[in-house]
Amino acid sequence: MEPKSFQLFPEAASSIAGQVDGLYAYLVLISAFFSLLIAFLVVFFAVKYRRKSDELPRPVDEHSIGGMVLEIVWSVIPLGLSMVMFAWGASIFFTESRPPADSMEIYVTGKQWMWKIQHLEGAREINELHIPVNRDIRLTLTSEDVNHDFSVPAFRTKTDVLPGRYTTEWFRPTKVGAYHLFCAEYCGTKHSGMIGTVYVMNEADYNAWLGEGSGEGSMAEQGQALFNQLGCAVCHASAINKGNGRCPNLNGLFGTTVDLKDGSKVRFDESYIRESVLYPQSKIVAGYDDYMPTFKGLITEDGLLKLVEYVKSLGPKNGTQTSVAPAAVETSASQPKTPAQDRTSPQANSRPGNR
């Protein structure tokens, strides 16, 4: 990102950017055509039919113009053109909303006024995001305080980052370089200082960068340590322990659909894990009692993401499981997988755990 003094069009550095620019070109063409047409007609009529100083209004034969036909024509043509805008935009939006199944995962926490980023391998950074080129990247984002928005114009994508919720954003960078990262949702005094840089690196450079590491172990390992430290392991069975059976066994649960005590179902995903840690009584799994205490106030958003990543590492992965066993049926624990294995061998997800 060598500073430029002047620019008129943003760099296109993601797989979706070309599609967005294509739609933009269509919209610009349509808009330019109609703006110029209307401007021309207004000026042309104003000149051509200009009233001479002492002339009286001309009587107009209203029926000579064919009013109804014109009204229909200038309603239907814009409607047709705008339906193309709708469909084209919706199709891009669909792509943007569906991260590919084997995306590389990164966790982002926004707070006034910085971006905190955690890589699965354990590396952490602030206001910088290092990623390899030509890999699908999936961000899971949350906020510690107010609404933020993770915006990378060169990738043509952004997502609001909300407190109390996980949102996702994905992109596939296609060009090595450094790009602006902006907070796009107004978040208070230093909103315009909540900026950073996304570094897209080739694979070798990225691995070298990753190798510098944090020395704290992978996110899942850090999550496992928290899992023990907070006492989750007393009740919940996981890769490292059997639990006491009073709470659901967490092995193999992630990405499945779970039956609840009240008869409804819930998808066992990042948001449900977060909700269960903070508000355990709100959605209790069928067959269990309201036993778990809340951990609200005892764990940070960053810590929650580590716990989420640990539980995620225990079970089938999001998006690959089609039919699902209810919770608390499985008794065996699965091998803890490192996130790296998880990414590179998706077929491992359906493997029944054994130990």
Binding site: F9, Q19, K158, T167
Partner: protein
Amino acid sequence: MITATLPEKPKKNYINATEGLKSWLLTYDHKRIAILYLLGVTFFFFLGGLFAVLIRLELATPAGDLVDSNTYNKFFTMHGIIMVFLFLIPSIPAVMGNFLIPLMIGAKDVAFPRLNLLSWYIYMIGGCFVLTVLFFGGVDTGWTFYTPFSTSYSNGYVIASGMGIFIAGFSSILTGLNFIVTIHRMRAPGLTWFRLPLFIWAHYATSMIQVLGTPVIAVTLLLLVLERGLHIGFFDPAYGGDPVLFQHMFWFYSHPAVYIMILPSMGVVTEIITTFSSKKPFGYTFIAFSSVAIAVFGFIVWGHHLFVSGQSVYAGMVFSILSYVVAIPSAIKVFNWTATMYKGAVRLTTPMLYAMGFIGLFTIGGLTGLFLASLGMDVHLTDTYFVIAHFHYVMVGGAIMGFLGGIHYWWPKIFGKMYNETWSKLSAVIVFIGFNLTFFPQFLLGYMGMPRRYHAYPPEFQVLNVLSSAGASILGVGYLLPFCYLLWSLKYGPDAPPNPWGATTLEWQTASPPPTENFPVTPVVTQEAYTYTTEEVVHVG
């Protein structure tokens, strides 16, 4: 022209009928109340404009060097709150609607004159709350008050600002209610719905939104105030609330509110184009019903403000397609205005210049709205300067051009004075050029990704920002000029005849300025609003 046969100027009119400040502050005359509103909205327009000047000064350089971030945030918040709630929403309905609706339908006053005066006081009380906030240091939430920032983190006067807008909202509700009843019950004999001027149809549609939509923002702001004061937990997840709920509630009003701001302007422009083309408007019924269609469909598109806010993909698709549906009636209007000029007898007066400017700028504003309604496009553009440029093309290029066009069109009727045509034409051209120079570069900035509400920005955005700031200074001159020559005309302008433009609607059939009772005899209407003949129109009164 009619000046030759100008009837003797009546001695008494609504302005000199009674004297003294009290006779104005306690008046029930809709025309005097309109003047009171004109004073109020003009004050708030220039106050809001002052903040725009400060914003553009700060953004002339990439570094945040003129003021600190906190002050800058208060600048754009005060600019937004004042312009939206205290200028744009009341501007045309409360000034021109108030003055003209009874005149155009041949009535002596609105249905509830006391309520009308009460509306003005409520508006001023709301305005005083906002001024108090300003005096004590302002508020920094943005005019959108998004939670949980506004409820738990803002260090400005959120409660007082919220209450100010809450109070001003009731003025809007009462005005809308008054107009609906007036239009239903007070029309002159023979004035059927399809003989009404299109200005009336536009205000009828606007009033529907005011009555149905404004209570929603009232409730929303009340919840906001309760949450801020008592931490009840509607919106802040820290208290068990939902952070996106506020955005749904806010835009459920605030999107229709955009049509409160633009529909009256469309009504004004229809009158001007018709008069200065000396021709019946093309597609009367289409223009009339498109106003109603905009009012109705405007209520079901709010979700297009939330495409990236954690709304479901399918909700996004529904709101996207509905947003395109609501765009069609606006397109119909633009085509009909243009067709009205076809084979007309066009006079390029000052109001007509403003109306033509309106058509051009509103067309660009509307078309760029189509970019933002397109899901995949909006993800890139939302929260950037593209959005700022888009809504300023609609709100300033549309609503304010319409407001100025209307002021110039009805000035002779309202004050009985003619203004200087050279100066006024010059100012219309200056406004048009200044406006485009200010806001067009912002489309380009937006596509490059410059986020809105940024106090400082990367250096590659500077050239376009400097152009924008330069344009704003031209625009500022364009707005100050009318203020000067219009005031000048009050004292030195020649007297206006009853119908200086050769218009056909009823307000031109009485004296300028009109007598307190509007018409000496209740007019009886026997034809459509826009019947142009080769004969000059015969005047009553």
